[in-house]
């Protein structure tokens, strides 16, 4: 079974971290993953940096620019991850924009991911329709989960469509915003989390965007199975590097 799916079967609130590969230093990718595994993180999204990350706020943008300046490339990332399954058991997801994947070749990219032991992909600018029309068979051939986003503006009908097309979890974007730009959750978020949770979807929900501390983590996971921390994790890496991720994780989920 796909590692993401088995992890989600555990009866716990999932804590997932996002970090940009090759940040703050090119060689930090694997040490960061090891620190996360040691800190009992449930799920990791490894960011493949892109020059024009449309859905990201300044924190993640800057980390991407820095990683690219450090020399990070798709090929480099695959090299860094080549032996990752000797050390890491957590489910791993690569999150990036579609153009670098397209240039690498979608089939070749998925083949590499499968070989390394990557479990799924999040490509925010590869929409459902294009995925289903052109790429779904490739993802399936390599056993990769494709994870779609929904937002507070996504209609119920489309949420159901996305649920039907998903095979791991649904990434619930907490607010209408790019990453890292909102502080705290209000009643609209709680209502939205509950509304979607009440739809009885076949896939678990994991909330992302705007999770940064214990309070936001608890609010986000009251009605859902987990939460993803991105910008706050990048801020930690900016200040400390891979060191001390366990302290960061404990501050969110004691």
């Amino acid at each position: 079974m796909n590692r993401i799916v088995s992890k989600l079967k555990e009866n716990k609130k999932i804590l997932s971290l996002y970090f940009t590969a090759g940040y703050p230093n090119l060689a930090d990718t694997l040490p960061t993953l090891k620190q996360m595994e040691a800190a009992d993180v449930d799920l990791v999204e490894i960011g493949l940096p892109f020059s024009d990350p449309l859905a990201d706020g300044p924190t993640i943008q800057n980390s991407s620019t820095q990683a690219l300046n450090n020399g990070m490339t798709t090929q480099k990332l695959f090299e860094q991850l080549a032996g990752v399954r000797e050390h890491i058991n957590m489910p791993l997801i690569i999150m990036g924009y579609f153009n670098p994947v397209l240039q690498y070749g979608v089939d070749a990219f998925c083949a590499q991911c499968a070989q390394i032991g990557i479990d799924g992909l999040i490509l925010p600018d590869l929409p459902l329709e294009e995925y289903q029309e052109h790429y779904q068979p490739i993802f399936e051939k390599y056993g990769l989960a494709n994870i779609f986003l929904i937002t507070p503006q996504t209609s119920d009908a489309r949420i159901r469509q996305i649920d039907a097309a998903s095979n791991a979890f649904i990434y619930m974007v907490s607010t209408a915003s790019v990453t890292g730009s909102k502080s705290g959750f209000g009643p609209e978020q709680t209502t939205y989390f509950k509304r979607v949770s009440d739809m009885g979807l076949k896939n678990p929900l994991i909330v992302g965007f705007g999770i940064k501390d214990q309070e936001t983590f608890d609010t986000a996971t009251e009605y859902t199975q987990g939460a993803i921390i991105g910008s706050a994790c990048i801020k930690h890496l900016t200040e400390n590097g891979p060191q001390g991720i366990d302290t960061f994780v404990k501050s969110v989920r004691p």
């Binding site: 579609f98 153009n99 294009e130 986003l149 996504t154 209408a176």
Partner: protein, 617 residues
């Protein structure tokens, strides 16, 4: 169909159908317009009494009737007999006279329609053959026709009859290739006509004449393809909408409504009126006598430089602000490079009293101070884009991020034929006014609608899309797109996207773009800020890849020289973007009697500082 019958008739279809079945959304109402002499008017009936059919045939002088219900062979036989009988004198003498006259020529034809499901029993046709002129095969659905889906045309391989038939049901741009394949196959041996309906509607009864024209042209020209967008915004392999889910509701709303809104008479009226009284259209088509003598060919300039705000950009911003109003949006965002599109957007926002936020790269803000000041005077807020390379592509990223953050009340006015579908097609349609005018202006001056060549510069490609629009599917018109080579295509400082780009995704569109082998988008360079974009609209990527368009790249130096030449020969200071188009005259030899239209996309006022520095004036 009834709401734009005359426009549809102008496309020279062989038959036009008028539905006389009241429950239909498309039921015919009102007066029959005068149609082209060769168009046959067909009345569509569903289980109507013979009396009613005869009455409508006479009243509207129909050339045929299409029976779409469960009419029997006996019904067809009696109707046939009645239709061929000379009419009794009726109360309306004039009408009956007309119809009596018609009897002498040709009796109205009978077309019997059948609904085809996953199978069809062709043996039932036999009993009808003697009493009908044509059969029509439509998709079985809830309604007696107009359901919008296609049936499996390969069933017609078993067609046992020699009665010619009409093929109907769900035929539209998206199954164009299937239809072409079908028409080329033996199953189509007796296919007499294609019946086009709901797939070309922007609303029930309102036909999208542009899409119809494109389709009809292609179907009539075997092996020809269209250079317009299909319904998902694809031009060949380019286009589409590669957007994060956060943008989906906004883009989906626009996609669902833009054609319908643009076809509304009230929209067209307001758009045309503003183009005329506010923008100052039509822009002149000027015969450039001295330039023509210099290059020994006939050169016309399409004077978009004379528009209000000094460029073609305003055609699009007027269209989009009216669109935004009809979508109920309150807040407008835009990106700008040189500031031309920002100024054109700030202008229409002032005109409509709407809030306007323009994103502009920090570096461009420093380079284009006068346009920043103009936007501020017009009441816009100019927000510096601080990310990435801090130029146009980053300003576009910031505008998209703003739209993600403000999904409800905001409309994003994109400045060129770029971005996710429907933007490239929508912007092209607003800019199409350029070639619509060229057509009639050239007819007045040269006695023909088509020039031999149309030349335009391409940044994102909006002025070129507008200048090419009417000519895209007319292969006899040469299309020349001019890109900025900067310091030379291979200098590393260039914006010649077709030469240097590879297929990829930029700003929500699959197109050609300049990028590293790793798929990171690179920074272009051109002396003209308006051509300084690492991508190109998907229409142009397709024109390039298919060979329909000729792509020429022009260096800074050649463009500047051509700009100066236009000043000296014609007394016109062009925008440096437009100067690139003029430099083609040195590169390509035209024949003395060729009619060459150059789109003069903008005036040079904004570039005065660059000209001063470059020529040490």
């Amino acid at each position: 169909m009834n709401r734009n019958t005359a426009e549809v008739d102008a496309l020279a279809a062989d038959y036009l159908g008028f539905i006389f079945w009241e429950p239909s959304k498309r039921a015919f109402q009102g007066k029959m317009p005068v149609l082209a002499p060769n168009t046959k008017k067909i009345g569509v009936f569903v289980d109507a009494s013979i009396k009613e059919v005869l009455q409508k045939t006479t009243e509207f002088d129909l050339d045929g009737v299409q029976l779409h219900g469960s009419e029997s062979p006996e019904y067809c036989a009696s109707l046939r007999q009645e239709l061929t009988q000379p009419k009794k004198v009726e109360s309306d003498v004039r009408l009956s006279a007309v119809s009596a006259d018609r009897q002498a020529v040709e009796a109205p034809v009978i077309i019997k329609a059948f609904a085809v499901g996953s199978t069809f029993d062709f043996s039932i046709l036999k009993a009808f053959e003697a009493h009908t002129d044509y059969f029509l095969f439509d998709t079985k659905g809830k309604l007696p026709g107009g359901n919008g889906a296609a049936f499996d045309w390969t069933l017609l391989q078993d067609y046992p009859s020699t009665t010619p038939f009409f093929l109907s049901g769900g035929i539209g741009p998206e199954n164009l290739t299937n239809i072409q394949e079908f028409l080329a196959s033996p199953a189509a041996a007796h296919c007499h006509a294609l019946d086009l309906n709901s797939k070309f509607e922007t609303a029930p009864g309102l036909k999208d004449t542009q899409a119809l024209e494109a389709f009809i042209t292609i179907i009539r020209t075997p092996n020809m393809q269209t250079y317009h967008a299909d319904e998902n915004g694809y031009y060949g392999e380019f286009g589409g909408a590669y957007i994060p889910e956060m943008l989906y509701p906004n883009v989906a709303e626009l996609k669902a409504k833009y054609l319908e809104i643009m076809a509304e008479p009230s929209f067209q009226e307001e758009f045309q009126q503003l183009l005329k009284d506010y923008v100052g259209r039509p822009s002149p088509l000027y015969f450039a006598k001295r330039l023509s003598e210099r290059y020994n060919t006939k050169i016309y300039l399409k004077r978009e430089d004379l528009n209000h705000t000094g460029a073609h950009k305003v055609n699009n911003t007027i269209g989009q602000i009216l669109m935004a109003k009809r979508l109920g949006k309150k807040r407008i965002i835009a990106e700008t490079g040189a500031g031309q599109h920002g100024v054109a957007t700030a202008t229409v926002c002032a005109l409509m009293g709407m809030e306007c936020i323009v994103y502009m790269g920090e570096i461009d803000i420093a380079r284009q101070a006068p346009n920043v000041a103009r936007m501020k005077m017009l009441g816009a807020t100019v927000v510096p884009a601080l990310s990435g390379s801090r130029t146009l592509k980053d300003a576009t990223n910031e505008a998209i991020r703003d739209w993600i953050n403000n999904p409800i009340d905001t409309h994003y006015i994109i400045g060129s034929v770029v971005g996710p579908h429907p933007y490239p097609d929508m912007v092209a349609r607003f800019q199409a006014v350029i070639s619509e005018e060229i057509e009639w202006q050239l007819l007045e001056k040269e006695g023909r609608k088509n020039p031999d060549y149309v030349i335009a510069c391409v940044g994102g490609g909006s002025n070129a899309a507008g200048a090419f629009y009417q000519y895209l599917d007319r292969p006899e018109v040469g299309i020349i797109a001019v890109e900025a080579a900067g310091k030379g295509v291979d200098s590393g400082e260039s914006a010649a996207t077709s030469a240097l780009g590879k297929v990829g995704i930029i700003h929500g569109s699959k197109t050609l773009l300049m990028q590293t082998p790793d798929g990171q988008i690179t920074e272009p360079y051109s002396i003209s800020a308006g051509l300084d974009y690492p991508g190109v609209g998907p229409m142009h990527a397709h024109l390039f890849q298919s060979g329909r368009g000729e792509f020429i790249s022009i260096t800074d130096a050649d463009a500047m020289k051509a700009g100066l030449e236009l000043c000296e020969l014609e007394g016109i200071i062009p925008a440096i973007e437009s100067s690139h188009a003029f430099a083609v005259l040195e590169k390509k030899q035209f024949k003395p009697d060729d009619v060459v239209v150059i789109n003069l996309s903008g005036r040079g006022d904004k570039d005065l500082n660059t000209y001063i520095d470059y020529f040490k004036l």
